[in-house]
Amino acid sequence: MTTYEQRCRVLLKAFPDQYRTERGDEIVGVLLDTGRAEQRWPSLRTAADLVAGGLRVRARLTSQGRSSVAVIDGLRLAALVGLCVQAAFAVAMVSHRAHDGRLFYAPSNAWSTGALDVLAAAWVVAFVLVVADRSRLAIIPAVLASTWSVILVVSNFVGNLDGAVTSVILLGVEITLLGVVPTLALLVASTRRSRTSGRPSVLWLAALVGLTALFSVLHTGIGTSRNGGRQLSWPSSGGLVSFLSWVCLAALLAMLLASLFDPRFGVAVIVVALPIIVYQVGLLVTVDSKPAWPVVVAISAFATTAAIAVSTAISLRHLRLD
């Protein structure tokens, strides 16, 4: 096998395994025919054409079947990712309470403090049930936790009517939306049968987003604690904030790239990124909560918006193929 052929075969990895098994030798034969005798590298145009062709085949194979099935699977994936984030937040909040004594975005009273354990347990149970492919059963704890979250964040907002909207309230709204939106996705998805139930290949993504959320909340918890729970602090040493922002963007980007091969990821990006946009835009527009890192937040908001737009375009294109 020549160096040129070896390099062509590397490019063929853009195609799905099964397709490569069936057509790989045939395509390589054409590449050898069209290449020059002394050629060592495929031309840039040929390389781009092969990669684009591989991605198109992947998209077509994935979207074979009805569009609605892909949308339902995307909603299910969004629910998985969202509930993973919620479970991570819940664990972080419980650990935060250990040194602050209350739920940081809820009113400071006994009933909201007691609510934390119920909330945390409900989100963790809902996530575990979705992972275990018991989505319909997961609706019960997810709806309970969503309702409880809304009550907490609304009561905090009512308690702060005299003051401006703080970044703590905004974060509470975002956390609540990050739970409510996936719960709604779960409710819609449960009405239809999934074609990829229990598919484990998406779990790495949920784990990545969950890990990001966990670190974010632990960091936020420390900042909130320093400010008496009224205002989030953005530490002067911005390394961690910056790092986490980039990790969040990397997670979104990973989903975005995955949506090129699989329309379900596009649907999931749209659903998961919407609450994040609400928070980021809120941070940028509220008067009293200007973060010390507006550029980072602005970039993040722009990237999230772009991710939603691109995902929408990609998903629509995928789904039109049916």
Partner: protein
């Protein structure tokens, strides 16, 4: 989804045209398309096989044998009856366009 003949893009039209005269393998299709388009359309493998997959799914072309030729694995493709109908329809549509264009050009005032 089966494409209507009016939606056929030029590379697809040229592939169908190349196959109209008989069975061809992938590299031969690329050569014929280049010749038919006077060098204007150069198909690359990713584009060619994407088009062949779509045409096969639409029932316009089928695989008609395979084998090894000069150390290369070849798969041969041929036009189906449905493919010939679609090609004929598209050719008629384009021919009508050409006739209309010539007729309109003939009506053009001299010196205008």
């Amino acid at each position: 989804m089966k494409r209507e003949s009016s939606e056929i893009r030029e590379p697809t039209f040229l592939i169908l045209t190349a196959l109209a005269a008989g069975t061809l393998h992938g590299y031969a299709i690329i050569q014929h398309v280049e010749t038919l388009s006077a060098g204007r359309v150069t198909l690359r493998p990713g584009t060619l096989y994407g088009a062949l997959d779509r045409l096969a799914e639409s029932g316009l072309v089928v695989v008609d044998g395979e084998g090894v030729e000069q150390g290369r694995f070849r798969r041969y493709y041929k036009l189906t009856g449905a493919g010939a109908e679609v090609l004929a329809g598209e050719a008629e549509r384009l021919a009508a366009n050409v006739r209309h264009a010539h007729a309109r050009l003939a009506m053009r005032p001299a010196g205008g």
